[in-house]
Structure formats: C-alpha cells, structure tokens
C-alpha cells in the first residue's frame, strides 16, 4: 500500500475542511435536477487556481462524489434522476418513497454510496496503472457491443411488458439521432429548425420524461405526493445498516461493476447503474420484489454509480484521458496548474496523487454523516411542504435546471414537449427508462459502430473486427445470455412446476 505519509498529508485541517465543504456543496447541487456534477466542478475551477494541486483535487473530488450521491434524492423523492447515473435508483427508490419509506430509502442510498465510493477509491489507490490498460483495451467495437448489451438489459427489465419496452427504446434511439451527428457531422431530423440542431440533451430529456409526468399527476389527483404513515422516525440508520449487511455480496459486486465500468471513458454511470441493477436482480432471492420498492435495488445502483468516481479517475490520472465528463473538467484544471498526468504521476508525482486519493477516502467517509443529515432534511421538506407550494417550486427548478445545462432556452421547450409525450405514454403503460436508455446508448452504439466499421473496412478485416476480438466475444455472450434469460427462466419454472 503506497505511502502512509500521504495519509498524514491528507489529514490536515485544511484538507478536511475542503473535503467537508466539497461534499456538502456537491450533495446540495446534485440533489437539484439539472445541476450536474460537471457543472458543480466547473464553477469551482477558478477557486482552485490558488491552491496546491492536491488540495484542488481533493475539493473537486469531494464535490464530484457528493453530487453523484445527491442525485439520489430527486430520484427517490421526485422520481427524477438528477443525473443519468441515478436512472435505476428511481426503479425502487420512488416506490419506496410512495409507500412512506423515503427516509429509509435515502439512508440506504447513503450507505450504498459510501461503500461504492470506498471500493472505487481503493481500486484507484492500489491498481491504477494496470487497470488503466483495461480502458485502452476497449476499442470502438467493444463500446458498440457494450451499448447493445445495455439495450438488451431493457428487455430483461421490462418483463411482462417487453414489446412496450422495446418500442420505448426505439423511440429513444430516434431521439438520439436528432441534431448534428457527433462524429459524422450530418444533420438529421431537425426539420429545418435551429432549436433541434444541438440535439436532445440527455439531462433535459431525463427531467422532462421523469419529472413532468409526476408533476402533472400531482396536479391531476387529490392524493398526497408521498404517503406518510406516521411521523418520520429519525435516520433509520440501523435498519438501513441491517439491510445493507444482508445484501453485502450484492453491494460489493455492484461496487466492483461500477468501478470497472467507470474506467471505460465513454461508458458512464448510467451503464454502470443499469448493469449493477440487473445483475443484483438476477441473483437476488427477492427478485420478484425488484421494481416495486426493493431496498436491494437502490443498494446496487447507488453503490455502482459512486464507484464510478474512483474508477473514472484511473484513466484520467494515469493516461490523461478523462473517464467521465466531470473528470474532463478536473483534468483541465490540473493542466492549468501545470500538473502533467501520466504513469509517472504515480511514481514521481506521488505526493499529489496519493494525497488526493486519501483525500477522496476522507470525503467519502464524510459523506456518511453529511448525506444522512441533508437527506433527512430533504425528505422532511418534501413531505411537509403543501402540494400547492411543492408543485410550482419543483416546476420552476426543472426549468432553471434545464436552462443551466447549456444556457439554452430551446432545451426548456424540448424538456416540456418530452414531458408531455412522456405523460401520455405513461398512460399507455410505457415507462420512461427504455426511452432514456435508448437515447444514451444509441449515441454510444452509433459511434462505436461507425468507427469499428471504418477501421475494419480499411484493414480488410470487417468480420474479425466485429466477431473476432476476445472482449467483444465475451460481451456478445453476455448479450445472448441476457436476451435468452427470460425465456430460459420461463422454461425452468415450467419444468419445475411439472415435476
């Protein structure tokens, strides 16, 4: 284990102060739909100029990790994933909140985030240089298959509603192709409008598709937003701890999945959360409760998405290739500080990197008390504020949040239109998640496919490119398994029923 002296360097009062204020600011910012971790970090960059590089990194890392956790609040209490990472948190978080267990859900999310954060940071501390090679082994064709794998998970997740799930995903894929194509620069489906040139921004689509239907339903029905069976019962910390302990294997596995997906630049927290969620569901003994408010579902997603923080720092610091969008901002800030990233940063520049990694541990540990306290406050606010105040406030926040992503008014229009579409589709039994996943994964799949095709055609090895690379083959096996799993399962249970 490298450098105990770096732990001491990280444990100064100044660094603890930075980590604490970073986590608090990050959690609050992340909890507001539309205000993303990337933005939170970008706003702070000028402040870090005057700091030592390791202090700057600790502050930015703390904000980043806090913001990823903060995204769980809106997902649980408003059914709105504040960031794509928290999509799968809504699956079980919101049902739990509806039946009056929002406080427990938030405490569970906090414990899971802290665990995931620790696992990610531990990988970053001990295995960075070798793991960075994984990031490089993933070429365009692997990203293509990974995105296809993500799309097949939709089928597994929309059991009983497969057709609607696939239709939703296709709608999402169509949305993904609107605007100027990322790599070919073609203009598609803009219908001559400049509003659509910039494409559909993922976070504004998230806000529209998830949050607007909730708001419309709040206005349309006389019920309370969340059921409150009795007075809030404190943090429910030990209850949450007991649930986490029971699912410790799933928790650990989700954290490792999150770290590994986080290492891949261009995969992102949404895939990490999704893969971890469906894996937890597949292996859980309580699988039929998933999607109806099962704490294990929250544990899986929230540990995976916070583990991507540590995972994403691996390619960022070792290769100078940002693992996630917030990492790109952090890398930029380091460049301005004159810090060169690269393998030698871990040897010669050890004091910066290792002080930072221990700082990340401290920030993650501080997330436990901070997250519990802010989470309880957020829950109380949502359940005590009268509907007449809650709806306009949230509606206002969705607009501000959407505008802030790209400083763009057209995004607000797109968000509202998608919200209304989402509400109508909800009435017909379509859920928003396949649409959003189609939107996110469609872009990754398209880029990977075009790049792999171009390279394969140039070298004259098109078949080998798509079907002859070991990692690709492994992912293809997963895809086949995930596609046939519902069928196999049905057959097994039928056979079991017969005998």
């Amino acid at each position: 284990m490298p450098g105990f002296e770096y732990l001491v360097a990280a444990l100064t009062l100044w660094h603890i102060f930075l980590a604490l204020s970073g986590v608090i600011a990050g959690t609050v910012i992340g909890s507001l739909p539309g205000l993303t971790a990337t933005m939170a970090v970008a706003v702070l960059v000028p402040i870090t100029f005057s700091m030592a590089p390791s202090s700057a990194l600790i502050l930015m890392g703390a904000i980043y990790t806090g913001a990823i956790y903060g995204g769980a609040y809106a997902a649980i209490l408003l059914n709105t994933p504040g960031t794509p990472s928290a999509i799968a948190t809504t699956f079980d978080g919101f049902p739990m909140a509806r039946r009056g267990e929002g406080d427990l859900a938030i405490s569970i999310a906090c414990l899971a985030s802290v665990t995931g954060g620790f696992v990610g940071a531990a990988f970053l501390l001990m295995l960075s240089p070798p793991l960075a090679k994984v990031a490089l082994a993933f070429g365009p064709v692997e990203y293509f298959w990974l995105a296809v794998f993500g799309l097949t998970l939709i089928s597994a997740l929309s059991e009983g509603n497969l057709l609607k799930g696939l239709m939703g995903a296709c709608f999402g894929l169509l949305l993904a192709s609107v605007g100027i194509a990322e790599i070919s620069a073609d203009v598609r489906f803009t219908f001559g409008s400049q509003v659509l040139l910039g494409g559909i921004e993922t976070v504004s689509a998230l806000i529209g598709l998830y949050c607007i239907p909730v708001l419309i339903d709040l206005v349309a029905t006389p019920d309370k937003h969340l059921k409150v069976t009795h007075q809030p019962r404190g943090f429910r910390f030990f209850e949450a701890l007991a649930i986490s302990w029971k699912a410790k294997l799933s928790l650990l596995r989700s954290s490792v999945i999150g770290t590994l997906v986080g290492i891949l630049p261009g995969a992102g927290g949404s895939i990490a959360g999704l893969v971890a969620y469906s894996e937890a569901r597949r292996t859980s003994s309580r699988r039929e409760h998933f999607g109806k408010g099962e704490p294990e579902g929250i544990l899986a997603t929230e540990s995976a998405n916070n583990a991507t923080v540590g995972g994403g720092f691996i390619p960022t610091l070792v290769l100078g290739i940002p693992g996630t969008p917030p990492d790109a901002v952090i890398l930029g800030a380091l460049l301005i500080q004159g810090v060169r990233t690269g393998p030698s940063l871990f040897t010669e520049g050890g004091s910066i990197v290792y002080t930072f990694i221990y700082g990340l541990f401290i920030a993650t540990a501080l997330m436990l008390p901070v997250g519990l306290v802010i989470g309880r406050y957020a829950y109380r606010t949502i359940i005590t504020v009268p509907k007449a105040v809650l709806v306009p406030t949230v509606a206002f926040m969705t607009m501000i949040g959407t505008y802030a992503i790209r400083n763009s008014v057209s995004d607000i229009i797109i968000m509202i239109v998608l919200g209304v579409i989402g509400w109508i589709l909800n009435r017909f039994g379509f859920s928003p998640s396949p649409i959003v996943l189609g939107l996110i994964l469609g872009r990754i799949a398209e880029q990977g496919f075009v790049q792999a095709w171009t390279i394969g055609a140039a070298t004259g090895e098109l078949w080998k490119m798509f079907f002859g690379r070991p990692i690709s083959l492994a992912i293809i096996v997963f895809i086949l398994f995930s596609l046939s799993y519902p069928l196999l399962r049905a057959r097994w249970s039928r056979r079991a029923g017969r005998t």
Binding site: A135, A185, L197, G198, G199, I321, S408, Q447, T459
Partner: protein, 321 residues
C-alpha cells in the same frame, strides 16, 4: 416654438449622450464590471483550458473578472448562432474557433454565416501534428508515407470529429503526399488519443498539445507550423519535409455585431496585451499551443485567407457541396 425648444433639448441630450459614450469607451472606463466570456463548447476542452489561461491575466491587467460560461451544442454552432442576439456593450464576448465557423455555415443552415461573426482577435492555434505511439514502426514521416503508398487506404488515423482541423489536415496532407489513408472520427481529442494508445488505429491526426500532454507514451512525426515548436525542437515541421502544411485549431474572441467600434478596438488591444505577457506565453507554449497575433484589423483578411484553403479542401472531400 415648442418644437424648436424640443429640438434644441434633443440635440443637447444627444450630445450629452455621445459625450458619455465617448468617455465610456475611453480606456479608463472600460471595463467597469465583470466581462462574460462564453465558450460554445462544454467545460474541460481545449477552448475552455485556453480561456482559463487568459482569465487571471485579464484580472491582473484590467482589474475586472473574466467570467467563463459554457453554451455547448452542435459543435459550437448553437453558441455562434446566438452571438449577435447578445448585448453589444463590451461585456459579452465569445470564443470562436476555426475551421468551425468557416466549414459549418457552408455545410448547412446553422443559424449564422461566417461573415456574421465579428472577431476582434485570434490569439493562438493548436498546430496539427501526426502522432504515433512510442513503439510505432514509423520513425519518420517519410517511412509512413512510403507505407501508405504501398498500402492505399490501410493506414488508419484517429482524429477529433469530421470537417474539423484534424480532418482537413488529413485531407490536405493526403493530397500533397499523393497517398490515401483512412480517417476515423472520434468525439473529441481525448477519445482519439485513447484509440491511439490502445492500438485501435496506427496513428493519430492530433495536435501538438497531445504531444505535450502524453509525452510519456507518444511521439510526433511532424508538426504543421511555420517553424519548429519551442517545446519540441527535435520534431520537424511539414514544411521542412517538403509539404506546405501549416494548420491547426485556431481560437479567437468575437463580440456581438452591435458592439461599438471603439470597444471592439479596445478589446482587441486588451487581448493582444495578454498575449504579450511573457508568463502567459510560456504557459501556453508549455501546453503545446502556438501563439498568434491577429488583431481586429487583420481579422477579415485572415478569415478570407483561411476560408479559401479550408473550403477548397472540404469541397474536394465532399464535406461541403
């Protein structure tokens, strides 16, 4: 009678107004509040980083903050289409990039034309360069060209985007050298570098900044500059090797069209002064950038010159009609 008085009053008002404008535009009164600097890309990219480099010197020299914000979308087009709708009082400026503002409006209706953009200063460019991994079989550009001649289309390059500086450099170089290579577009330089480091492609059409940032893993075969880059005295220019290729991603600053002439000039001078700061120059060059001093007066001529070069290359490659 009344009309006359009103006229006189009006003249007085106008002259008072003009006087105040005149004093407003003279050096001491501008800037009196923070200046908003919009980058039409997301944070963390090179446009952001170079703007961040300017930030502290702006504050040091003019006592006001330069506040950076982002308006990404459509490869910058979303921001530039809105530039002229912003208030032209000198407190709104926007980053501009070449070849983007030349290629995009010629490709499709993006809501702005190249000549709609009022550039006041082009402050640097990141020169194009051919980058290979340290263990690449190609030691020199000549070896690479020889390989490409024997294996048309087989040599793969990663690069950032289509119709971009990297892509146009590849097109122009292929024509100059009489070779055919395959360009694979990636979303951003970071991913193009990852593809190179992971041996997904044989080489990268990248920038000198890639050579600076990834010095431990890559080397450059040639850089598209007039003279060798001070940070890389051992890397030849394309010119030395017989190819007249000087190109890269050029960056500058533009103002809304409604910005008064004196303020445009003053901003041009201010950005020029930042560019002259030796410490600023050293920082930029250390990151692999090359400084450029195209001021307000030289802007139009510069854009015309670059347009001719870029549009010809883009037309031949069918990027534009």
């Amino acid at each position: 009678m009344r009309v006359k008085i009103d006229t006189r009053f009006l003249i007085g008002l106008i002259s008072a107004f003009l006087l105040s404008v005149a004093s407003f535009v003279h050096a001491d009164d501008y800037p009196t509040k923070p200046v908003s600097y919009v980058i039409p890309f997301g944070p963390g990219g090179e446009s952001d980083i170079t703007a961040r480099h300017q930030q502290p010197y702006f504050k040091k020299l003019y006592g006001q903050d330069l506040v950076i914000s982002y308006k990404p979308g459509g490869g910058g087009a979303v921001g530039w289409a809105q530039l002229n709708k912003m208030k032209g009082d000198g407190y709104n400026i926007m980053g501009i990039n070449l070849p983007h503002i030349i290629i995009q409006p010629n490709q499709k209706d993006v809501g702005f034309k190249t000549e709609d953009i009022t550039g006041v200063f082009m402050f640097h460019y990141t020169p194009d360069a051919i980058v290979v991994n340290n263990d690449s079989e190609f030691q020199t550009l000549a070896e690479m060209v020889a390989y490409a001649k024997e294996n048309p289309g087989k040599l793969t390059f990663s690069g950032s985007g289509k119709g971009t500086a990297n892509h146009l450099a590849q097109l122009r170089f292929d024509k100059m050298a009489g070779i055919k290579t395959t360009y694979v577009a990636f979303k951003g330089t970071g991913k193009a570098v990852a593809a190179l480091l992971g041996d997904q492609v044989r080489a990268e059409w990248g920038y000198t900044s890639v050579g600076a940032q990834h010095a431990e893993n890559v080397r450059m075969l040639a850089v598209a500059m007039e003279e060798r880059h001070p940070k890389f005295p051992d890397v030849p220019t394309f010119k030395e090797l017989g190819y007249d290729l000087v190109s890269g991603a050029y960056r500058g600053i533009a103002v809304p069209q409604s910005t008064p002439e004196p303020i445009r000039r003053q901003l041009s001078e201010m950005i020029g002064e930042i560019n002259a700061d030796p410490e600023f120059r050293a920082r930029m060059e250390n990151d692999g950038m090359a400084l450029l001093d195209v001021d307000y007066d030289g802007y139009t001529e510069f854009i015309e010159k670059m347009s001719a070069i870029y549009l010809e290359a883009a037309r031949e490659a069918n990027i534009i009609q």
